[in-house]
């Protein structure tokens, strides 16, 4: 059987060779040591050495033709033998691959890029995330005290402790759930009760609900908190308060009070917001919120919260409001409708920001951060359309937070 001569590797970097000249013709006798042809490689033109005894039966490559290493060039055999016509190359692979999927292995596990855009990042240390996750706790509404607003372990633990203090003690079946006793009503509770009854029974409440894309807000908050260093820590609620004042600026009819024969249109916004304390709920007031920047509102809110918790609020600080915002987001409530705080014409009820599938502007399903805001309106003062306009304005402002600053 004829021996097939393949294009040899004549230099360590050669991959193809061009046959520039045949030194032996078909039919010539050839011996080991003879040169069969001249081949041009990447480095030089070399002579192709023959190692077999016999007759050059066939040349498979024409002068000027370029073939890869391992491709058949000629056949050498006994006189009279027929050479195969352009046979299948018996070349071995020149690169010795051990596996076929080497290349695939080089691609590491596809990056599990979070589907949310980087705009929606909540900064939390790996440890904080782990602790929160193990308690089924949402990081959404936490205030981060680490650098750049990063949520750290201490923040999660303190939030968990708060939660822990309101959780029920471990259940012991057969025992009373609580001490059977008469608890005297405190003054504060008495006052709250009176207000609520009056409000609920005398004000014709109607309810509107709107869902807001909270992503821009979250992003802006993170950016502002990061850039201002240690000094300012803006909360989500601060933004809601500010946005509310801007929405009221656009729809001032909400900033009214019913007085029977007249409706008092208030020129200033005295914004009350709910603060949960031991005994119940108080609503300290930020006076003239319409004249205050986000930062000022934030600072004032913090001060008032501190006072509220320490029971140091003055009556002045608790009264004279024209609009109220209440927030149960940090408690995980999705949406709710508060009871109007007289003499306001409406109350805004802010829910938690949750991740949910949404349809984006391209019609694709993606993950969105959504916040539900409920509005309870006094139907004597406000009609549905006005309430709706107000909510839509609020939505617009929250979703384009830059509008809070112009």
């Amino acid at each position: 059987m004829a021996t097939i001569i393949d294009m040899p590797k004549l230099s360590d970097t050669m991959t193809v060779g061009t046959l520039v000249n045949w030194l032996k013709k078909e039919g010539d006798a050839v011996s080991p040591g003879d040169m069969l042809a001249e081949v041009e490689t990447d480095k030089a033109t070399m002579e192709l050495e023959n190692f077999d005894e016999g007759i050059l039966l066939k040349q498979y490559v024409k002068i000027g033709e370029q073939v890869p290493i391992g491709a058949p060039i000629a056949a050498i055999g006994k006189k009279g033998e027929t050479a195969p016509e352009a046979p299948v190359s018996n070349a071995k692979k020149t690169s010795k691959d051990l596996t076929n999927n080497e290349e695939i292995k080089l691609v590491e596990a596809t990056s599990n890029k979070s589907i949310t855009s980087s705009n929606n990042r909540i900064k939390a240390s790996p440890l904080a995330k782990k602790i929160a996750a193990s308690h089924g706790f949402s990081l959404q509404s936490l205030l981060g005290t680490g650098p750049g607003g990063r949520i750290v372990k201490a923040d999660v633990l303190s939030a968990l402790n708060k939660e822990a203090s309101t959780t029920l003690p471990s259940i012991n079946y057969g025992e009373l759930i609580a001490k059977d006793e008469k608890i005297p009503v405190s003054n504060i509770r008495r006052t709250i009760a009176a207000h609520l009854v009056q409000s609920k029974t005398q004000i014709p409440h109607f309810y509107l609900d709107i869902e807001i894309d909270a992503s821009p807000l979250i992003e802006l908050r993170a950016a502002l908190n990061k850039s201002s260093g240690e000094h300012i820590k803006l909360t989500v609620n601060d933004f809601i308060l500010k946005a509310s004042t801007e929405a009221l600026r656009r729809v001032p009819k909400i900033n009214c009070s019913w007085h029977g024969d007249t409706i008092q249109q208030h020129g200033n916004i005295h914004l009350a917001f709910g603060v949960a304390i031991d005994d119940g709920l108080v609503t300290p007031v930020i006076r003239n919120a319409n004249t205050k920047s986000l930062r000022q509102i934030s600072t004032e809110a913090k001060t008032l919260v501190e006072k509220a918790r320490n029971k140091k609020l003055s009556p002045n600080e608790m009264s004279g409001h024209t609009f109220t915002v209440t927030n149960l987001g940090m408690f995980g409530i999705n949406n709710f409708f508060g009871i109007i705080n007289p003499p306001d014409a409406g109350i805004l009820s802010v829910g938690a920001t949750i991740k949910k599938p949404i349809v984006d502007m391209h019609g694709n399903i993606t993950i969105g951060h959504r916040m539900n805001i409920g509005f309870s309106g006094d139907h004597r003062v406000i009609d549905g359309a006005t309430g709706a306009t107000f909510l839509v304005a609020l939505k617009e402002i929250i979703e384009t937070p830059a509008l809070m600053f112009i």
Binding site: P8, L10, S11, D12, K43, A44, F51, K96, T99, K105
Partner: protein, 369 residues
């Protein structure tokens, strides 16, 4: 293109006879002489088979053939005693065969197979056989010269009457490490023999273009080391002069530098097209006048020891052996992927003796390789 002229500037009319009568050559039996001849032929046929394997893509990387220099390895190694050791650079196929390593394990090593003498982990430049006192096989030019001094140092330290032959090329004599080694060898009386295998070209650079001062071995004088030049094409002369150097090493613990003039017919390595620094005529001239195998063949024929039948037989057997080694290499398996991460530390390879803790290798194979 600065090619050498056709006349070999180092060629003298080979004085083959003047060393034949030396006891080291006269006193060996005929079959030992035939064996010397056979060893040279085996090296040549093995090397030719390597060329073919390389061109077929079975041998990768660098492959430096010894064709034309056979007498240097065979001559020097044939006179070694039981406490003598050798270490060389990277043109080592001849040395490996001359100490007695098998063609199979060398070819398989070049094919990267697990049956190779270095388990496929070293390749053409890294053969070694400690049992045969052959310490490799080193790729960095001149890097082996301090190692050679160290082997000699160890022999002396242990009170052994032995020497280390440390081979280097004509290009390596310009590396600083060589001079540091010569200084240490002379200063500390180390039994090391530096053998400069001068094949006239350091890759593509002729001696005239790379090295100031001639002969190269004369540089040893600066270190008070004895030196000599040797006509490498004369096997008897190689044996004689090596024996002298060995005696000096064994008896007085003094080093020697031998410059053995030789020639390679192929390029520096398989990657060298061998067209830029010498002419075909230059090579042909040497082949016709100074081929060591041809010259020794003539001597033995004249001594009545060799005849055409024996010559033919030896040649045929050598070719067969070479061909079989290629087959062996081809059929042998590759090492398993786990080979990449063993033989790195003695301690890791010998866990029953391990005392170290902690992590020593900082990544691992992927599960499916």
């Amino acid at each position: 293109m600065s090619a050498q002229t056709t006349a070999n500037p180092n060629s003298k009319k080979s004085s083959q006879q003047s060393y034949a009568t030396e006891p080291i050559n006269k006193d060996i039996p005929s079959n030992a002489k035939i064996d010397l001849y056979r060893q040279m032929v085996r090296i040549r046929r093995f090397e030719e088979r390597c060329v073919r394997s390389y061109q077929q893509g079975n041998i990768g990387g660098f492959c430096h053939t010894y064709i034309g220099q056979e007498s240097v390895a065979v001559g020097t190694i044939s006179v070694l005693g039981p406490n003598d050791h050798i270490i060389s650079a990277y043109r080592i196929h001849g040395h490996a065969l001359a100490v007695g390593m098998s063609m199979n394990e060398l070819m398989a090593e070049m094919y990267g197979k697990v049956t190779g003498c270095s388990k496929g982990k070293g390749g053409s430049m890294h053969f070694m056989d400690p049992t045969r006192h052959f310490w490799g096989g080193h790729g960095i030019v001149g890097g082996q010269t301090p190692l050679g001094a160290g082997i000699a140092f160890a022999l002396k330290y242990e009170g052994k009457k032995g020497a280390c032959l440390c081979y280097l090329g004509d290009g390596a004599v310009n590396q600083g490490a060589f001079y540091e080694s010569l200084n240490l060898a002379s200063l500390w009386n180390l039994p090391v023999i530096y053998i400069i295998e001068n094949n006239q070209f350091s890759m593509g650079t002729s001696q005239a273009r790379s090295s100031a001062g001639t002969p190269l071995a004369k540089r040893a004088e600066g270190f008070a080391i004895d030196w000599a030049e040797v006509d490498g094409s004369n096997l008897y002369e190689v044996r004689y002069k090596t024996t002298e150097a060995l005696k000096r090493a064994h008896d007085s613990q003094r080093p020697t530098v031998l410059e053995i003039h030789t020639y390679r017919y192929r390029g520096h390595s398989m990657s060298d097209p061998d067209q830029t620094y010498r002419t075909k005529e230059h090579i042909q001239d040497h082949r016709e006048k100074l081929d060591p195998i041809m010259l020794f063949e003539t001597i033995l024929k004249n001594e009545g020891i060799l005849n055409q039948d024996i010559i033919h037989e030896i040649d045929l057997k050598a070719k067969e052996e070479a061909e079989l080694s290629a087959q062996f290499a081809d059929e042998s398996p590759y090492p398993p992927p786990s080979s990449i991460l063993n033989h790195i530390y003695w301690e890791e390879d010998n866990p029953e003796h391990k005392v170290s803790q902690g992590t020593i290798l900082f990544n691992q194979l992927l599960e499916q390789e």
